[in-house]
Amino acid sequence: MKILVGLGTCGIAAGSEAIYRSLAAKAGNGGPRFELGKTGCLGMCYIEPLVEVVDDSGAAWQYGGVTEDKLDRILEEHVAGGRPVDEWLVWSDDGRGTEGAYLARQNRIVLRNCGRIDPEVLEEYLAVGGYEALRKVLQDKDPDALINLVVESGLRGRGGAGFLTGMKWRFTRLATGEHKYIICNADEGDPGAFMDRSVLESDPHSVLEGMAVAGYAIGADHGYIYARAEYPKAIERLNIAIAQAEARGFLGDRILGSDFSFHIRLKEGAGAFVCGEETALIGSIEGHRGMPRVRPPFPATKGLWGCPTSINNVETFANVPWIIANGAAAFNCLGTANSKGTKVFAMAGKVRRGGLVEVPMGISIREIVFEICGGIANDRKFKAVQMGGPSGGCIPAELYDTVIDYESINKTGAIMGSGGLVVMDETTCMVDIARFFLDFTQRESCGKCTFCRVGTKRMLEILTRICEGEGRDGDIELLEHLAHLVKNNSLCGLGQTAPNPVLTTLKYFRSEYEAHITNKKCPAHHCQKLLSYTITEACTGCTVCGRVCPTGAITGDKKQVHHLDQSKCIQCDECYKSCKFHAIVRS
């Protein structure tokens, strides 16, 4: 028997390290015998910590929401007694557990190894066919055929813009330069997305392999990974993986005895969203302020240190070894006419099952949110999904039959983006969401283009005053005017797309803006300045609200109707949420 503990960042945050230590102590303590192992993230972040029991035939049972005091029973009944503890099972190979539907509807290509192998052990990657794609490519010795295969697969860049990966490689191959470079964009700046982090933490070798294959295709001898500094675990595991691959000859000089040499170096970002943009990223690696420059020339002809460079996203690279192993047809039979393969989404917000899901293109938003992720948490009403982060937009509930496909999503005004999907319910205020994103883009604008630097700031001011009940007639029109100016007069994607969250919320939720401006009301009861809390006679004096209040605004004796001091109230909503007697009203 083998026991595996999920040690991704989510798992660790939920306490899986303590579980691992506790199991390690028990393993040597005379109890039932088992081998202890680690894995990365399976994507079921909502039910971490996850512990998997694998028997000698390879059949697996996964336990979710495991705590230290559940371990003894699992060890005794399952590991020693061979009787799985049904009530804590989330899924199993023999069809038990409550969460089978979450995995069954997915189609795992990028996440094929995530949560299945130990990311820090190269042998485990090799055992599932790792580095075979690289070996094959080096044996075939035909970079043009390799590029044709990737073009034929229909793989489009997963970093947001959706450019055909094979075409990008072809342009870089055809360009001339003393050196050529591969860059892996692991900056994952969209605040609300974590696909790339999870892949890097759970299956770093697949990204390295994808990069080496790309390097061979374009004729590069060096690759860089530009990773966010906020992802310490991913950086740690990438460093381990690079050292392992070098030691075993999968990276470095004369790889696998061929005449192809490829070195990978990790660069830590320094906290600037705009550095996710490819020309800014290149500037940052070169040691400058990360400011985008005019394209063309595109990086494919003039990139890092002025040399031809292909820059691709983490998820794009993770697809590559699979495509080589399984063929273009296995990939392009999935999806729609123009969007092939699968897409990984990071599900967060007011959804019941938040985590990573990988689905074939062409599936609808409704299927993802309701059928896979179990719908809206706390049985509230579904309002919208936000796709594409600060460059994207909010797709309203009415359009939830929109399918996942670059062009269909664009039609709604949002974008596919890198895969962050934040679900919103009736308590989320759309004006506030627009304000939130403008606050972000305004801060992250590098300041090069006037419209992006000043325009986003003016838009933020207008949105802020609307949220604070100071909105004026004509503000909506002014916002629209500014939005078009910023969109049309910015150099890079940051400015060109920054108005999208405003434009989509205006398109689908205009009445919410009007309610804020005209009636000074926030229909979602979110905007603080437009809210007030009062305690009614229904109060039983249970004292719960007084105890949860972080500012001490609520006072009152036991069994007496409590009093709320408006001057101290920060509208944090804690009392409202804690009251079992509906004695607190918001208006």
């Binding site: 989510c10 909502y46 997305a193 320094a270 600037a272 040691g287 240190w305 967060a348 917000g349 804690e574």
Partner: protein
Amino acid sequence: MSDHKRIDFRTLQYAGQEGRLIPLLQQAQAQDGYIARERLQEISEQTGAPIAQIYGVATFYAQFRFQPVGKHILRVCHGTACHVAGAKAISEALESHFGIHDGETTPDREYTLETVSCLGCCSLAPVIMIDGATYGNLSPTDIKKVIKQHRQAGEEVVKK
């Protein structure tokens, strides 16, 4: 063995001198917790880049601080998922718990409060991170408990 295989990019002419700047700044900050004035001077001497240029690069990136920080860095996530889940109330609870604002350090120099956009644990929103450890699914009322836990864990390490 793997040592001689790893290329030192600094010796490669095409890599240019400037490529070192950000890693050097990161190294300086890792050592001191912030970018001290003297460090800028040192980096300038090592790389030959003028201080103004180095300062220009350093101030562009959110990661670099120019003030000393507390023993522990407490990051509050204000990414999309955390925002929707009430990050603002978490920040307010932290600010009132410590009596300091975003970016400031407690008088005992134990904690520095920082706001970040997304720690990559969005499904556990709202999330905070103290040094390398992530705490998720928080409510404002959990703050006291989390800080107490963290202080105790620190004391245990010291005792050991």
